[in-house]
C-alpha cells in the first residue's frame, strides 16, 4: 500500500519537530530527514499545499541553517532555475526555500532582513526568469532539453502563481521586456517568448496601464499597422499590398517603421512590405526604414546594392535584419569601399555543409530560407548593430567583443573572415610572427558551443574562441598577464600597447591599487588626461560581482565612450557582450542601459563606479595626463568599493 499524503505529512512533521528540538550545532544531522520527507511530499498529490502549511516554521527550526540557502536576503532569482534542474538535494531545498519566501510574502512568517514586499518581488522575478516552466511550450529546444525535474518545477511554479498577484507578475515581465529591448540585441528570441508569456497572463484583473504597454510589444511582433493587424496571415497581407494606393503604402510603411524604431522588434509583415517595395516602389523604402538624412543619402547612393541585399536576405524568417539594415544605412557603412563587394560575395558563397546546417537551425523549419540568405541577413545585423552582438550562453566574451569591434571599425576585415570560416572552415591569425590556424586547434573555452547565437557569431565564434585560447596558451608562462600581448594581436592595431593590471603577475596579489586607479584616470578621465579622446573601443577586464558585491568571476567588456551624461556627471559607456547589460553589481553599482545618454546596446556607469570593478585596461603610453593630480579622496573611495567587494577574494599588499 503506497502511503497516503496524510501519512507523509505526519512523517514530515515528526522530522521537522525533531529538527526544531536539535541544538544548533546538530541541525545538519536532522536536516537530512526533513529533506527526505519533504521530497516524498513534493512528489505526492497536494504535497506542496501541505508543505506550505509548515513553511512559516522552516527558518526558525533551522531547515536552511549552515547551507547556501540560509540567508533569505542573499538569495538570487537567477540561481533558482539551476538548483531546480539539479538532481537531488538542491532541488528539494530550493523548493522549500521558495515556500519560505511565499510564507514571508504572505505575512505568514517574518524575516528581519526580508520584508513581505521584497519576498514578493523575489518570487515575481523568479517566475519571470522561468516562464518556460510556468507555461511549457512545445518548442524543439525545450523538448530536447526536457529535464526530469521539470515536472516538479512546473508544479512549484503553478503553485506559486496561484498565490501571487498576476498583475504584479505582468508588471515585472513588462519591466524585463523594456529593459532588454532598450539594449537592442540582435537575438530577440527571449524577448519574444516573454511577450508571448505576458500575453497569456493578461486577464480581467490586469492593470490598464500594463495592458497598454504590453499591447505595443505584442503588436510589434504580430502586426503594428492597421493593415497588418487586419491581415495577420502574410499571404493575405501581401495580396492586400498590391491593391492599396501609394499614400496608403506610405502610411503603412511609416506605421511599421515606427513600431520597429520604438521597440527594436520587427513584424513578419514588415519583411513582406520591404520585399514588395524593393520590387514595385523602391522610392518608398526610405519610409519603410524610417531613415534619417544620412541613412537616406546612403540608400540613394547604394540603391542597387540595397535592393539586391533585400532580395537575397530579407524574408519573414530573417525579418529582424530590417532593423539591422536601417541601422547599417544610417552608419553610412556601405560607402566604405570593401563593404559592398564583401556583402556581394556572401550572397553566392559556397558554404560548408556543417556551417549550412548550423545556419538553418537558426530559423524555423518551413520558412524556406537558404543558408546564404541567413548569413547575409546576419552580417547586415552585425554591421548595423555592432553593440547588439551577444555571447549567448557561452563563455566567449572575447570573441563577441572582437566581432563587435570589427563591425564598428573594421568591416572590411570582418567581411574577410566570415567567408574564410563559412567556406574554408579555417581562420588564420598571425601572432608574433607565427601563423595560427584555427583548423588544427582543439579545445577553446566553449568546445560545446551553445547554438543560441546570431548567424555571424555562429560562423566565427568556434574559430575565434580557439585562436584566442591558443594565443593565451602561448604566453601563459611569461609571468605577466597575457592579455597585454594577446589583445592587440587578436583585435588588431586599434588596441593600445600600454597595459596595466591590478595583479602582481607572480603572486596574484593586488599590488599598488592606488597607482592603478591613478593611471586609469590619467589616461581616460577627461579631467586628468590632457583631453585625449577615446577613439577606438578599449577592451578591458572587469570583476563581475553579484548583488552583494561578491566576486563571481572575470569578464571582458569594451569601453566605447567616456562623456558627461545629461546630468553633467562623467560616465563610462561600455559594451557588455553578455546580453544583459544591466545586472546589479552590488554596492549600489547598477549599470544602466537607457536614460543616461546611452546609445542602443551600451551600458553605462559613473566613472568611479566602473573603475572600482576594473582589473586590466589598455592605454596609449604617449597619451598620459597627470596621474599625480587625481585627488586622494577619489582614489580612497574607489579603493574602499574595491576592497569591500571583489577585493575580499584577493590578498592586498
Amino acid at each position: 500500500m503506497p502511503q497516503t499524503t496524510g501519512a507523509l505529512v505526519e512523517r514530515f512533521v515528526y522530522a521537522l519537530d525533531e529538527l526544531a528540538k536539535a541544538p544548533s550545532f546538530a541541525k545538519p544531522k536532522y536536516q537530512t530527514d526533513v529533506y527526505q520527507e519533504a521530497n516524498r511530499l513534493i512528489e505526492a498529490e497536494q504535497g506542496l499545499e501541505n508543505l506550505y502549511d509548515y513553511a512559516h516554521r522552516f527558518e526558525e527550526t533551522g531547515v536552511f541553517q549552515d547551507g547556501p540557502w540560509e540567508s533569505a536576503e542573499k538569495l538570487q532569482p537567477p540561481l533558482v532555475a539551476g538548483s531546480l534542474k539539479a538532481k537531488g538535494l538542491p532541488m528539494i531545498i530550493e523548493v522549500l526555500s521558495e515556500l519560505r519566501m511565499l510564507a514571508i510574502a504572505e505575512g505568514k512568517s517574518t524575516n528581519q532582513n526580508v520584508s513581505p514586499k521584497v519576498a514578493e518581488e523575489f518570487l515575481n522575478e523568479v517566475m519571470v526568469l522561468n516562464l518556460n516552466l510556468l507555461f511549457p511550450d512545445a518548442s524543439e529546444s525545450s523538448r530536447i532539453e526536457k529535464h526530469e525535474n521539470d515536472d516538479k518545477a512546473e508544479k512549484l511554479f503553478q503553485f506559486l502563481s496561484s498565490h501571487l498577484s498576476s498583475s504584479a507578475l505582468v508588471q515585472t515581465l513588462i519591466d524585463e521586456i523594456t529593459r532588454l529591448t532598450a539594449q537592442r540585441p540582435i537575438m530577440i528570441k527571449r524577448i519574444v517568448s516573454m511577450i508571448n508569456m505576458a500575453k497569456q497572463m493578461l486577464n480581467q484583473e490586469s492593470d490598464e496601464e500594463d495592458r497598454e504597454e504590453l499591447k505595443q510589444f505584442i503588436a510589434a511582433i504580430e502586426g503594428p499597422s492597421p493593415l497588418s493587424a487586419k491581415y495577420k496571415e502574410i499571404h493575405a497581407y501581401r495580396a492586400q499590398l498590391k491593391t492599396i494606393t501609394r499614400s496608403d503604402l506610405i502610411s503603412e510603411s511609416v506605421a511599421l517603421a515606427k513600431s520597429m524604431r520604438d521597440t527594436g522588434l520587427v513584424a513578419p509583415h514588415h519583411a513582406t512590405l520591404i520585399r514588395f517595395l524593393s520590387k514595385q516602389n523602391p522610392g518608398l523604402l526610405v519610409y519603410a526604414l524610417s531613415l534619417n538624412s544620412k541613412g537616406s543619402a546612403n540608400l540613394e547612393e547604394n540603391r542597387e546594392l540595397v535592393i539586391q541585399l533585400i532580395r537575397a536576405s530579407i524574408f519573414p524568417g530573417t525579418r529582424q535584419a530590417i532593423y539591422g539594415l536601417a541601422m547599417m544605412l544610417e552608419r553610412g557603412i556601405l560607402s566604405h569601399s570593401p563593404v559592398a563587394p564583401g556583402l556581394r560575395r556572401l550572397v553566392e558563397l559556397d558554404i560548408r555543409p556543417d556551417v549550412r546546417n548550423a545556419l538553418y537551425a537558426t530559423t524555423n523549419t518551413g520558412e524556406g530560407v537558404t543558408a546564404n540568405s541567413i548569413l547575409v541577413a546576419g552580417t547586415i545585423q552585425v554591421l548595423g548593430q555592432p553593440l547588439g552582438v551577444g555571447q549567448g550562453f557561452n563563455p566567449t566574451c572575447q570573441a563577441a567583443r572582437g566581432i563587435s569591434l570589427w563591425a564598428q571599425h573594421a568591416p572590411g576585415f570582418l567581411l574577410e573572415i566570415i567567408p574564410r570560416a563559412a567556406r574554408d572552415g579555417d581562420l588564420d591569425f598571425t601572432f608574433e610572427g607565427t601563423p595560427i590556424h584555427s583548423k588544427g586547434l582543439k579545445g577553446g573555452l566553449a568546445p560545446e558551443l551553445d547554438k543560441e547565437l546570431d548567424p555571424v557569431s555562429l560562423v566565427l565564434v568556434p574559430h575565434l574562441d580557439k585562436i584566442y585560447s591558443e594565443m593565451m596558451t602561448r604566453v601563459a608562462l611569461r609571468g605577466e598577464d597575457g592579455h597585454r600581448w594577446v589583445n592587440p594581436a587578436f583585435y588588431g592595431n586599434w588596441v593600445q600597447k600600454g597595459f596595466s593590471s591590478v595583479f602582481d603577475p607572480i603572486t596574484g596579489y593586488v599590488l599598488d591599487y592606488s597607482g592603478f586607479v591613478k593611471l586609469f584616470y590619467a589616461t581616460h578621465h577627461p579631467e586628468y588626461n590632457d583631453d585625449y579622446e577615446l577613439i577606438y573601443p578599449n577592451p578591458v577586464g572587469i570583476f563581475i560581482t553579484n548583488v552583494h558585491g561578491k566576486l563571481l568571476g572575470l569578464h571582458a567588456v569594451s569601453i566605447t565612450r567616456i562623456k558627461k551624461d545629461p546630468q553633467g556627471e562623467e560616465r563610462i559607456y561600455f559594451y557588455n557582450p553578455n546580453n544583459d547589460g544591466s545586472q546589479n553589481w552590488g554596492q549600489n553599482i547598477e549599470p544602466s542601459v537607457a536614460g543616461n545618454g546611452e546609445i542602443e546596446g551600451e551600458s553605462s556607469l559613473p566613472f568611479h563606479q566602473f573603475t572600482s570593478r576594473l582589473y586590466a585596461f589598455h592605454y596609449n603610453p604617449y597619451e598620459q595626463g597627470d596621474a599625480y593630480a587625481v585627488e586622494t579622496s577619489i582614489v580612497q573611495g574607489i579603493r574602499e568599493l574595491a576592497k569591500d567587494s571583489w577585493g575580499k577574494d584577493y590578498t592586498w599588499v
Binding site: 500500500m1 503506497p2 502511503q3 541544538p23 550545532f25 546538530a26 529533506y35 549552515d66 538532481k87 537531488g88
Partner: protein, 419 residues
C-alpha cells in the same frame, strides 16, 4: 524546561563539593557532542582544525588539532586541555585512541593507560597479547614486505597439508593501525599479494577463521562489563542488526564471559570496546580484533533504536571514573529487554558512474522500513572505497522478527539503488 532548571539548581551544592571538570571529546562527532550537551556535561571538543569555524559559530568549546602530526609539540594538547579544566578524554575515532590514551595517562597520572591504548592500535601486538592471555586466536604473523606474505601463505597451507596444485586456504592481511576493514584483503594466491599497497605495510597476516562473524559493544566501567551488546553481521561491512538473532543471543553468557576475559587481559578500565569474534557451530569463540572507539556500521544508532539508550552517552558515562554505581545501574537496561530488531543496510553503488537513484516502492512501503538518507546524486564517478567507510547511504529497518530482518537485508543488498 522549568523542571530541568529545578534539577540543575538542586545539584549546584553538590557540584561545589566535587571540583567541576571538563570532558574532552577526542575527534569531531556531532552525535557525541549532542550526547554530552544532553547530559549537561561541561565538555571541550578536540578535532581537526577544519571544524574551527563551525564550532565557533555554534559556541562549541573547541581545540583544533592535527592527530597525524606527532612531535615534541604534542604535549601542548595536554597542557592546553589541563589549563581549560579537562580531566578526562574520550576517543571517538581510531586515530584518536592513542591521543586519548596519552591524555588520560597524564590526567590520571598512570602511564600504563597510554601503553594499553597503544595495544589497541597495533593489530599485531593486540593478537599477541590475546594469545599470551590464553584467548583463542588464529595463526598470525607480522609482515614487512610481500616476500613475508608469500612465505606465510605457503607455511599456513603446508600446515593444512595441502598438496601442490590444491586450492590454497586463504590468509587475511590488514595494516597494523588502520580502522576496521581499511586495507583488509583476503589472499588466495600470488596475484592477490601483488594487489597489496606498499603503504599498507607493516601489516598483520592471519589464517582464515571459519564460523559466523559478529561484533560486541561492551561498555566497561572500573574494569567490569556493564552492558554488552551483540551485533549480528548479515554481510560484513554492508548490513547488520541489533540485538543478534535468538540463535546467537542464546550464546550470550558464553560471549559475556569471553568479553570480560578480554577486558581483564587488556586491563581495560573505562570506556567502550568493540571486539569482533568468529563463532563456530559448536560454540567455540575465536577472537578477531578489538577497537576502543565508536564502532562503524551505525551500530550506536541501532543500539539506541533497539534498547532506547544513547550509546554515545553510555560511552561518555563509562569513560568517567567518577560515574557512580547508581548512575550506571539506572542508565543501562536489561540486555534481554527489547521489543524489536533494529537493522541497517549500507548502500554502495555497484556501478562506476552514478546517474540516478531508484528506491523501490515496496521498500518504502515495507512495515520494517524506517528511513534512508540517500538523495539523487549529482552525476559522477564513484569514489574508490576505503574500508567500508564511505558508503553512499544507509537504509534503516525496525521490526519484530530477526529472520525477516535478515531476509530483507540480504534481498536489498543485491538491489542496485544507483544506476
Amino acid at each position: 524546561m522549568e523542571l530541568d532548571q529545578l534539577e540543575l539548581n538542586a545539584t549546584v551544592e553538590e557540584a561545589e563539593k566535587t571540583k567541576p571538570y571538563y570532558t574532552a571529546l577526542i575527534g569531531w562527532s556531532v552525535q557525541a557532542i549532542e550526547a554530552a550537551a544532553r547530559r549537561n556535561l561541561p565538555f571541550i571538543v578536540v578535532g581537526p582544525a577544519d571544524f574551527q569555524t563551525y564550532a565557533e559559530r555554534h559556541d562549541i568549546p573547541f581545540v583544533g588539532w592535527d592527530f597525524n602530526k606527532l612531535n615534541e609539540g604534542s604535549d601542548q594538547l595536554y597542557k592546553q586541555l589541563k589549563e581549560m579544566g579537562a580531566e578526562l578524554a574520550v576517543p571517538l575515532y581510531e586515530e584518536c585512541v592513542e591521543w586519548a590514551g596519552a591524555l588520560n595517562a597524564r590526567f590520571r597520572e598512570d602511564p600504563k593507560v597510554f601503553n594499553r591504548s597503544l595495544l589497541l592500535r597495533d593489530k599485531g601486538m593486540m593478537k599477541r597479547k590475546a594469545q599470551i592471555s590464553g584467548i583463542k586466536v588464529g595463526v598470525f604473523e607480522e609482515a614487512r614486505d610481500k616476500d613475508d606474505v608469500e612465505r606465510f601463505l605457503k607455511r599456513v597451507n603446508e600446515a593444512l597439508l595441502k598438496l601442490e596444485g590444491d586450492h590454497l586456504d586463504p590468509i587475511h592481511v590488514k595494516p597494523l593501525d588502520k580502522a576496521g576493514s581499511v586495507g583488509h584483503l583476503a589472499i588466495y594466491n600470488k596475484d592477490d599479494i601483488d594487489r597489496i599497497q606498499d603503504t599498507d605495510f607493516p601489516l598483520l597476516m592471519e589464517s582464515h577463521l571459519d564460523g559466523q562473524e559478529f561484533s560486541c559493544e561492551a561498555f566497561v566501567h572500573k574494569g567490569k562489563v556493564r552492558f554488552l551488546n551483540i551485533t549480528e553481521y548479515v554481510r560484513l561491512g554492508h548490513s547488520n542488526f541489533v540485538p543478534a538473532s535468538p540463535s546467537l543471543e542464546e550464546k550470550r553468557p558464553l560471549i559475556q564471559q569471553a568479553v570480560q576475559k578480554l577486558v581483564d587481559a587488556f586491563e581495560i578500565e573505562y570506556g567502550v570496546i568493540h571486539p569482533e569474534y568468529f563463532i563456530t557451530q559448536d560454540g567455540t569463540l575465536h577472537f578477531g580484533e578489538v577497537a576502543a572507539r565508536v564502532p562503524g556500521g551505525h551500530i550506536f544508532e541501532l543500539i539506541e533504536r533497539a534498547y532506547g539508550f544513547s550509546a554515545y552517552e553510555a560511552q561518555i558515562l563509562c569513560s568517567d571514573p567518577n560515574t557512580t554505581e547508581e548512575e550506571l545501574l539506572e542508565f543501562f537496561p536489561d540486555p534481554y529487554d527489547y521489543q524489536n530488531y533494529a537493522g541497517c543496510l549500507m548502500v554502495h553503488p555497484n556501478v562506476d558512474y552514478v546517474e540516478d537513484l531508484k528506491i523501490p516502492e515496496e521498500l518504502e512501503d515495507h512495515p520494517y522500513f524506517e528511513k534512508h538518507d540517500m538523495f539523487t546524486p549529482p552525476q559522477g564517478k564513484v569514489a574508490e572505497r576505503v574500508g567500508f567507510g564511505n558508503h553512499y547511504g544507509t537504509i534503516f529497518f525496525y521490526g519484530p522478527n530477526s529472520e525477516e530482518m535478515t531476509d530483507l537485508l540480504k534481498a536489498y543488498e543485491q538491489y542496485n539503488f544507483y544506476v
